[in-house]
Assembly symmetry: C2
Homo-oligomer: 373 residues x 2
């Protein structure tokens, strides 16, 4: 069966007729975002390895690579398997893989992907990765994951040299460098605080690099950074590649990182929803609730289709509510929203509906959706 809404492809006005809730990409804005980040990286002499956990899409990964990225990041093994199935050949998996069964999958993936890298923050796990890789016959490339003070994953800079040394001498492993992602910094709303915090984390990473270099363990790759610090991190001259993800879509949360100023990237991602009930004055109910938006970052922002000043609230699993004071919404009215947080919202949908202006020009599968294991 062809996917829902496929009958609207390439017809005038198809965007307004989508069965909803639908995840919509404004292709012009997406293309400009991909080009702008690629240009930024070229200008600053840093490589790009965009994080595919944001979009989970082979098509978007291909476009990022075509624009100059040297590969992509995936958050999880399953996501990497899905994108490798789509032909992506250079993948860094940014979360530690630690179970025996996971390590077996990792090595199977290593055997079929030209350029795979994994991360490690634990010597016992490193020993098991080494053992499995030796049995597999192809070295597994490893970045040592460094904790930038967030405490989520990574080894502390003080304890890193021992782990680096272990991995560097392991026969089955290739010590490729370091990963350091300061997730806690990305959404700081004060530009000065964001800059200070990010540069401080990178300064510590730079000191670690110097210490390792003095021991003959110079890291070739230093991978990290995010959309919130994309224009800060290159100044530290520590990272060799940026793991930026959200810039392709943007969302309410990232738009608020540049308050009062124009965000450096455009919103290209929307959830389109339809009014299904409007029997009360100033209140309309839509078809997009907790199953249509990730809810970890508050409410969506209405971008178009509702009266000026209208606001959106979650009205349960299946529905949203719109509170408004002017004109009148009626069942069938179409409303588009900026999503609160792009990554986990994308993870709710099977496909992107890709539009140029008012025309539906593509339906792209989200191959990595739900591949969190």
């Amino acid at each position: 069966m062809s996917p829902l809404n496929a009958d609207l492809l390439d017809l005038p006005g198809g965007r307004a007729k989508l069965q909803t809730p639908a995840l919509v990409i404004d292709l012009d804005a997406l293309e400009r975002n991909i080009a702008a980040m690629a240009e930024h990286a070229r200008k600053h002499g840093v490589a790009l390895r965009p994080h595919a956990k944001t979009h989970k899409s082979v098509e978007i990964a291909r476009r990022q690579i075509a624009a100059g990225a040297l590969g992509i990041c995936c958050a999880k093994l399953g996501e990497a398997e899905a994108l490798a199935d789509g032909g992506i050949e250079s993948i860094l998996i940014t979360s530690p893989v630690v179970t025996d069964r996971g390590i077996a999958r990792l090595l199977a993936l290593n055997a079929r992907v030209a350029d795979l890298m994994a991360v490690c923050d634990n010597q016992m796990v490193a020993a098991r990765l080494d053992e499995a890789a030796r049995a597999g016959g192809k070295k597994l490339r490893i970045l040592i994951d460094i904790d930038p003070g967030l405490g989520r994953t990574g080894v502390s800079p003080a304890e890193a040299p021992a782990l680096v040394g272990f991995v560097a001498q392991a026969e089955g492993l290739e010590y490729a460098g370091l990963q350091c992602y300061a997730g806690q910094v990305q959404h700081m709303e004060s530009a000065n605080e964001r800059r200070a915090a990010s540069l401080s984390a990178l300064k510590e990473l730079g000191a670690l690099r110097a210490a390792l270099t003095a021991q003959g363990l110079a890291p070739k790759i230093l991978s990290g950074g995010g959309t919130g610090t994309f224009d800060i991190d290159p100044d530290a001259r520590v990272l060799t590649e940026l793991q930026v993800g959200s810039y392709v879509f943007m969302d309410r949360q990232y738009n608020e990182v540049w308050p009062g100023a124009r965000a450096p990237f455009e919103t290209s991602l929307y959830v389109q929803t339809t009014v299904i009930s409007a029997n009360r004055t100033g209140l309309a109910t839509t078809d997009a609730g907790f199953k249509a938006f990730a809810t970890d970052a508050g409410a969506p922002v209405i971008a178009r289709g509702a009266p000026e000043g209208a606001s959106y609230f979650f009205f349960g699993d299946e529905q949203g509510g719109i509170i408004y004071s002017q004109s009148k919404l009626v069942p069938g009215d179409v409303v588009s929203c900026v999503v609160p947080h792009c990554d986990p919202t994308v993870n709710l949908y099977g496909c992107f509906h890709v539009v140029r202006g008012e025309m539906l020009v593509g339906i792209w599968p989200i191959e990595g959706r739900g591949r969190s294991a």
Copy 2:
């Protein structure tokens, strides 16, 4: 390719080896919940039409029907299409379908499902449903959706008779009764308040039934209720069928509806997660974050695998955190959590991993996942 974890089926200890995050059903508990609700309905002389928006699964719908349910509810057209594809023959779609393209899909579904019902709360929409159904040649059965004071969907009781009259005389439609779902009542933690609020809503519905009956428009079906009021609603003798959903799984939110008392249904749904990093004292990081749990209802509750007194927090899109004070967690440790809110959490996963004790005995697809349109 066979699904992830299929190699563990029917092996001893398979549950502990699942690649995670994984959505796990304790089959013994699920079976007891289905049987207990069926027995409750029989005892009180009320029919069951369980809401499949909770599980979105053909297998679970079949089991509910086998236990005596007269059919199921679906929240959305796409969900109904998915369950109809799996052979479910009696479906009520509980949200209004209002667009021309949606109505066309609804009539196509009506043509292939033995017993389909839709809801309506708007006369202009009713006129379009009527027109489409007349063209289709098979009457479309309609429940008039009544607003119990929530304001989400439904027509007010005062305005209902006019809409009932319109639908009853429409050639293409069959007036089958009323729907009234008091969603605002389901999670009230005070049993007395919950009882009073639910019975008050049903009293108004009873008055509407009497008024309609006096006009020769007696509703045959009165459909409504939920897990939170399953043992209250039958006393009002107004509803002919209960739309209970969450009772099959339960979750942290519904367990809290019966504080201090034993909940009437067992928790049968868990998210199983694995520790991937544990380099700090008293803090471990797991592989289950915003993409593995719906976040609208707070944090998960650890059910097993972590030290006594440990608590779970969301640590971003891909990870969770466990704070604990005793013993030591290490990478690879397996932790199971009760989900905060079952419906939107199920909507994140492609399948259920079904266990009896420590054995994986089934992998059931979630056919309606993501079918919110």
